[in-house]
Amino acid sequence: MENKKEKQRFARIIKRPYISDAHSLIIRVIAFVFSFIVVSILLLCMHFNPFNVFAVMLKGAFGKEFLIRETVKGTIPLVITATGLSLAFRMKFWNIGGEGQILIGGIAATAVSFIFGRSIPQWVLLSLMAAASIIMAGLYGMIPAVFKAKFKTNETLLTLMFNYIATQLIVMLQNTRSWQDAANNFPKVRMLDFYSRLPRVFGVHIGWIIALVMLVLYYFYIQKTKHGYEIKVIGDSMETARYAGINASKVMIRTMFLSAALCGLAGFLQVAGADGTLSESTAGGVGFTAIMVAWMADMKPVRILIMSAFIAILNRGAGNLQTVYLIPSSFANIMIGIILLFMLGCEFFIKYKVSFSFMSGRKSSAINDKGGRYDY
């Protein structure tokens, strides 16, 4: 448009007015296949047979009954955290602080367990631990929301910093005498008493039931309640929300409390269910991975479940890769990155139609006058 010279443009990008479900699915599948091709090429460069590698990964995730249980165990925190983050993302609040909120939840649960020990009935203790983790993490996550509501403070960066404060808090607790094992001086928080561990159903701690319940609750909260409606309006347009008389500050603070509370719950499940102890790897990057799970799933409950399971499978599979082929398990992160980049990139081709000049052979300047077109 502003280019006076008539030159052949490399590509022309046109916004699609409509795309059928089948068409968008095809684009997504193609992107998915492409991502695996790239991963395969990477493996070939390192002299591994990609098919063998994928087979080993699948075996690592599903090969034995206990491995399936491990995969489910890995899915639980992702589902709950992604659900929590989705609440915030729905109103365009960038909660990057899932990692820290998980840790705060874990700290609160551990503290309750250490304080009460075996002095109260087990179910009371576990409920107290859950409540403590939910409330503490919720409050922790509320701080950025309060500042965002009052002063428009950038929540992305503030929640990010809160991750590191929480991590350092754990390092500090690891070096605090009263949190360590009495028998030795290792800089580690001591194991939780078996009394304060979660019961198991089908061999996996009951977190998986809680995760499914949370997904259903999330669906109803967003789709069927006034609160959910307010969140969606704010997410669409702050102006509309104000015009409709929605108290945006209140909704923001309330929703962030819930968002962080869910992350805290995931922390409780990690400490009392999966790990049995508190460490700086209690969250283990889940807070960050869940951001992408939520985003890829478009904040929709069923997709959150599928995406979480997929990531958990990749992680488990890469663990097996390390034992079988001595490929460092960081490979999971590379694979997740490549697949997600392709899946996100393909969204562009769903929204826009791209035609290349060398394919059509037409001069792009001829159709330059239409408003909706974009030269590139």
Binding site: E2, K15, M46, W94, I96, F147, F151, K152, T153, N154, T156, L157, L158, L160, M161, F162, N163, Y164, I165, T167, Q168, L169, V171, M172, N175, T176, G285, F288, T289, I291, M292, W295, L326, I327, P328, S330, F331, A332, N333, I334, I336, G337, I338, L340, L341, L344, G345, E347, F348, G371, G372, R373, Y374, Y376
Partner: protein, 321 residues
């Protein structure tokens, strides 16, 4: 004692200067790249791989350092070009892409670092000769001046490079036409585009240059801080600190030098200053708490001139102009 502390603070702060200046350049164009941490990992492993490869080819001393330098910068450029492609061309959300780059970069760094270690039988390291290049310089006469000589003329070359990079960035952003256009793109891309500035071009170039500096920051962490040995998880949050430092230094490369050194001091304070009865690990929390407070304070008293680029984090949709 105090001099040692100051020197250690500068040494710890130098990679932060590089990464912060890189991120400032990127953010000035309106792109927020949260992938600094990942870019640093990639830069670190690439520079180490470059150094080891150069040693195998028979280079020594400064030759190895040069190859390592180029590898670090180039890998950072490629990584941020990928970021640019995803956000500028494909218009994917910047936060998400940045996080993916962080996850993928951390994976790439640790993966290839460990793989190289396995190949070398245990752990990977450069030769002592290469290590010597990355340790402090010695200028005859100047370096032996007491106090001042130690404080100003005893560092490795990368420290001086990072200071020069910050000064150059300051000059270009504040004093040249290019810098003005860059600022315009970051403040209001629609207006900049209407004025004939190519938003796409500026955002790409800013991201790539920023990425190069982040890659070099990674190189510093690997080659200087860890003296040419791959350590699992070696970047350990420095990239995120840089993201925070950008705010702390109010998008001003010159201020970022001082802020980075302050942060460097906070990072190493535990080793030098002990207050009896206080858990020393509380020091490690300081940089993050200080940054949080700064983020909040700057949002409360929106000072006019040095504030956040208006369109930061927003992709540019030309058809919505």
């Amino acid at each position: 004692m105090i001099i040692n502390f100051l020197i250690a603070a500068v040494l710890a702060g130098a990679p932060l200067v590089l990464a912060t200046v890189g991120e400032i350049i990127t953010e000035k164009s309106g792109n927020i790249n949260l992938g600094v941490e990942g870019t640093m990992y990639i830069g670190a492993v690439a520079s180490l791989a470059g150094a080891v490869a150069a040693e195998k080819l028979g280079l020594s001393g400064f030759g190895v350092a040069a190859v390592s330098f180029i590898a670090g910068a180039l890998s950072g450029m490629i990584t941020s070009a990928l970021f640019g492609f995803m956000t500028i061309s494909l218009r994917v959300n910047q936060n998400v892409v940045g996080l993916i780059i962080t996850i993928m970069g951390t994976g790439i760094g640790n993966f290839f670092g460990e793989l190289m270690g396995q190949g070398a039988g245990g752990y990977i390291s450069v030769t002592d000769e290469t290590k010597a290049v990355f340790s402090g310089i010695h200028i005859p006469g100047l370096s032996s001046v007491p106090v001042i000589g130690e404080l100003l003329f005893s560092y490795n070359g990368m420290v001086y490079f990072s200071l020069a990079a910050a000064l150059a960035a300051f000059f270009i952003i504040k004093k040249t036409k290019i810098g003005l256009k860059l600022t315009a793109v970051g403040e209001n891309p629609y207006a900049a585009d209407a004025a004939g500035v190519s938003v796409t071009k500026y955002r790409y170039i800013a991201s790539v240059i920023g990425g190069a500096l982040c890659g070099l920051a990674g190189m510093y962490m690997c080659m200087v801080t860890n003296s040419g040995v791959w350590v699992h998880g070696c970047i350990s949050g420095y990239g995120w600190l840089a993201v925070a430092l950008v705010i702390f230094s109010a998008w001003n490369p010159l201020k970022s030098i001082f802020c980075s050194i302050i942060f460097g001091a906070l990072m190493i304070m535990r080793l030098y200053i002990a207050i009896p009865g206080l858990n020393p690990f509380i020091y490690d929390m300081c940089p993050y708490i200080v940054t949080s407070i700064v983020i909040i304070i700057t949002s409360i008293r929106k000072t006019g001139k040095d504030h956040i680029p208006e369109s930061l984090g927003e992709n540019y949709y030309r058809e919505e102009r």
